[in-house]
Assembly symmetry: C2
Homo-oligomer: 189 residues x 2
Amino acid sequence: MSNNTTVENIILGCLSFGPRSGYEIKKIINMSSSWFYNASYGSIYPILKKHEEKGLVSSEEVIDNGRYKRLYQMTDKGYKAFHAWMLQSPKLMTVKYEMAVKLMFFAKLAPEQRIQQIEEHIEQLRLFKQELEEIEPWAEHEGDSYQRLILDWGENLYDFLIQWFSQLLNELQKYDGDLPQKPKDGQQL
Amino acid sequence: MSNNTTVENIILGCLSFGPRSGYEIKKIINMSSSWFYNASYGSIYPILKKHEEKGLVSSEEVIDNGRYKRLYQMTDKGYKAFHAWMLQSPKLMTVKYEMAVKLMFFAKLAPEQRIQQIEEHIEQLRLFKQELEEIEPWAEHEGDSYQRLILDWGENLYDFLIQWFSQLLNELQKYDGDLPQKPKDGQQL
DNA sequence: TTATTCATGTAATTTGTTACATGATTCT
DNA sequence: AGAATCATGTAACAAATTACATGAATAA
């Protein structure tokens, strides 16, 4: 039996707080990990079904405030699988960052285009950081101080990016949009 | 006609330095963007074929040192497409970071398990940063100071991550592996 | 002679999104 | 009455990886 994927484990993790419906799981993800591990309904519902087939979760139809929903609940087997995943050494981070790739080819742009691209990008980063800050802290359980951590991390990451690109912008502006060759330090005396 | 993807444009970008074979393009990517935008042969060869069908590149078979290879060369149309992409506002960064996700569910681990997970992760980050540092600066053209930028960025990013998790580790150790609830500052007096 | 590097490509599979399809309930 | 939210699900499509398949040239 192959291992569960990260998203499959996130869904189990959401259920570790108590029974939830697919719709509710989507909401939890939106309020926490969505900006770096997202899942659409097109993923969530099939995964829940698969989890049930494997015996990791069980489900029942309930009427909640006159509204039909299918509530999923973790089984012992599901909790064990989730907990085992938590203890595994995590996959390395993967990043897809188009702006960083473009830097490779920056020599192909005119100096003023370089400056403009970086300026626009910094603005983009600022906007995104604002959006992050507006995500309401997800509090499934009082006293669980770990749920905020992920949002804090995101904000710190974007601070880092804004700072890095601002510094690059400064350098570019100092030399009219054309970085000088950096001398290699060390290596040979 | 739909836009080219990022990887399709990276391949065009590699050809902007001169004619290259699929094998050589893979090498360039390995030495620069691989750790955040990778491409396997299973992507590269079909993309080159597609680019040729679209007229963005042309190819010829050559014998180089007694070795057969198919060299691809950018056409004017290809350069225009590449340059237009360079000027577009870049896609937002996406991050897949399993360790960050696990933080959401850290309450489910025992205090000593939390500390151990963070310690192991910091070690993992250090190792990866070392690998990054060992990538030989890719210098397709003398005097192109932008090609190094992407590696510098990576090293700075990993410094940030190591620092962030070290700080978290400190906090955890201070409280025997169990973070206290942070008081919400501001909001209400 | 044998392992490594150079070199190209296809097929199957995985993983996920987007768009579609449907419909009930609640808020304005 | 109509818009928004709650709620579930499928089908088509997209992007990319992994494994497979092949073979020549070179270095040890």
